[in-house]
């Protein structure tokens, strides 16, 4: 899993280390800068150790205890090597490195009995709390273990579990608002300190970075609490150490652990103080805003657009119109059942071909619309005037009669209307008509080409009306 590093870089790193120097300017025993920030939720914290970052969240749930330990709750620690931290970490699968880190954390926190699991018992053999610490590696730059162990213990300290009351056999878990949640009872703070060894243990470094970890021979992990009690010691890698070196490591660890414990307790106190005084807290509050890469804006007010006001885009207006038309159509359908078939014809345009001609459909032409828009007033006048032998007048007449037909639809006298239309148009049409029926149809089509209208919304309705008439004509 380790990152591949070029030979030149490896040699350079080793030569720097053998000169007693480090690339980031630290001394041999120096730790990188530790920054602990707590979230608004209880038990949530993020730890930064230089560029290495780990996010921790503690949670709990009520479970049935194991049969072997009926009076003890359980503690689970789960470190996820997210691919965000490094491209070499694959999602889903736990690598051997991941297993190693998880096991070390379990040994240092769970098996050193840092958390009092007996206090997590609610009803013996029935209900216990299961505390779970989820650790997410956000960025990997060496020494993930130390960072995770700080995050885990800080998160456990910060966490508050809901209060529980037991009366008889009834167990009540109080919500966080209902009763003040309680802290976990934690005996001590085990903290892991990693030492990296180079050139067969000749050189030792505390808190190795990612680069240093790739060139090290092996490492030793000392887990200790502030009372100088060793919790876990582990040594891995291809190197042999003298017992003096081991004791020296432990002595360094004592100093480092007390330093880190101080950092954690101050961070916890600061957060508790901020919460108590009602100041702002959480990640959003602890963000550094002075950096050039960061920016923020205050709360902003946005007006809520009411759809019914009709101040939206054109497309929405169109939609509205469609809706209106639909509603109008519904109303009409309620009025007369025949409108039903009328609608159907309009939608089902291939059906138009059955009228008799079986030719190209010229019923709904785009030009009809423009004509309608041009002459809404002339239609009105035409309605009042008597028939004039003028061609334009006859056209008006046709329109008028067509409109009349539409108007009278509700009365249900379909045959009559169509007859009126056809008789008039037959008289006026100068074309020779071999078959009367065909002529009728033709003329009707002319008549329907110019359905008079009073407004754009009405166009559609009349068009539909025409469609229905057509169908009526078919069987004649």
């Amino acid at each position: 899993m380790k990152d591949i590093i070029s030979t030149a870089e490896k040699q350079f790193l080793l030569s720097v280390i053998s000169n007693g120097k480090r690339l980031d300017g630290r001394d041999t025993y120096d730790y990188r800068k530790i920054r602990i920030t707590f979230g608004t939720e209880k038990g949530c914290c993020e730890v930064q150790l230089g560029n290495t970052r780990v996010l921790a969240q503690t949670s709990c749930e009520v479970v049935k205890p194991s049969a072997s330990r009926p009076s003890e709750g359980s503690l689970q620690i789960n470190l996820e090597l997210s691919p965000m931290a490094s491209p070499s970490f694959e999602p889903g699968r736990m690598s051997s490195y991941g297993v190693e880190l998880n096991r070390l954390l379990e040994r240092s926190v769970r098996e050193s009995k840092a958390v009092d699991t007996e206090s997590l018992c609610i009803v013996v053999g029935e209900k216990v709390w299961q505390v779970r610490v989820d650790l997410h590696a956000l960025n990997f730059d060496g020494n993930l273990l130390d960072c995770s162990s700080i995050a885990a213990i800080a998160s456990l300290h910060h966490f508050r579990r809901p209060e529980v009351t037991v009366s008889g056999e009834e167990v009540t878990v109080h919500s966080l608002e209902d009763r003040e949640p309680v802290a976990l009872s934690i005996h001590h703070m085990p903290i892991c300190i990693t030492f990296a060894f180079f050139q067969e243990g000749k050189y030792l470094l505390v808190d190795p970075t990612g680069g240093e970890e790739t060139v090290m021979d092996g490492c030793m992990v000392v887990c200790m609490n502030v009372h100088r009690e060793l919790c876990t010691v582990q040594m891995t890698g291809s190197m042999l150490l003298l017992k003096d070196q081991l004791s020296r490591c432990c002595q360094i660890a004592v100093v480092k652990v007390s330093e880190i414990t101080d950092v954690i307790t101050t961070a916890l106190e600061n957060d508790a103080k901020a919460r108590k005084e009602g100041k702002k807290f959480g990640f959003a509050e602890s963000k550094v805003t002075s950096r050039i890469t960061s920016s923020n804006i205050e709360k902003q007010t946005v007006p809520i657009k009411q759809h019914s006001e009709g101040d939206g885009d054109d497309s929405w207006d169109e939609m509205e119109e469609d809706q209106e038309e639909e509603e109008a159509g519904k109303m009409k359908r309620n009025g007369s059942n025949e409108m039903e078939s009328n609608n159907m014809v309009n939608i089902d345009r291939p059906g138009v071909g059955t009228i008799g001609e079986g030719l190209q459909n010229t019923w709904v032409l785009p030009e009809e619309e423009s004509e309608d828009e041009e002459k809404p007033s002339t239609v009105e006048t035409g309605a009042t005037k008597a028939a004039v032998p003028n061609h334009a007048a006859s056209e008006m007449q046709r329109k008028h009669s067509a409109r009349k037909g539409v108007k009278d639809e509700d009365s249900g006298s379909e045959e009559e209307e169509t007859m009126i239309v056809s008789s008039e148009t037959i008289q006026e049409s100068k074309k020779p008509e071999p078959i009367v029926q065909q002529g009728e149809v033709l003329d009707l089509s002319l008549a329907l080409k110019n359905p008079s209208s009073t407004g754009p919304a009405g166009q559609r309705k009349k068009g539909k009306g025409a469609g229905r008439k057509k169908q009526k004509m078919g069987p004649k």
């Binding site: 969240q57 965000m84 491209p87 956000l138 946005v302 809520i304």
Partner: protein, 213 residues
Amino acid sequence: MEESQIREISCEQSVLSKPDGSSDFSQGDSSVMVGVYGPADVKQNKEILDRATIEVIFKPKIGLPGVREKAMEKMISNTCQAIILTTMHPRSSITIVVQVVQDAGSLLSCCINAVCLALMDAGISMKCMVAAVSCAISEDGEVILDPTLKVAQVASSVMHFAFESKEKDVILSSTQGMCSPDQYLSCLASCQEASDKIFTFYRTSAERRFSKT
């Protein structure tokens, strides 16, 4: 006219050293961290000959990813597919890792905004930018933008919309609960209005970042 507020937005780019681009984005108390790797090598079985493979990994804060997380992954990945010029990098992968830091409502829109900022930071070529806004309709029909978790829990419906920066067209629409078409359109219009604020935020943050030489 009624009004609603969107919470304070803050963002930091290039927060992580390993990924090619990263952002730490928060809207109110909701906070998300995103890391982007790419264009990089792609696994042979995921290779697409004429464009880049976009992989989104959504990490919940507690436990393992479930169905809800997979759905989020899919929605984010579809949104990214719409804006990233994938044909620029054939046979390569763009991996986007989204880590929830704090869920305090409007998580999906928070994630999409964070992803957009991380993609900008990584220098991935995009057709346009994307901004997401969530809104909720309360029991009495009031539209609330950028709802917190508490508001969203009692709301009759919650919606998430993502808009692109050029025409302000809708890229993503996700709704939960019931609402009338009028309410939906009203929410859409309001969110579109609010997305302008987020695009302005993108612009100011980019200007701030590149203001100094």
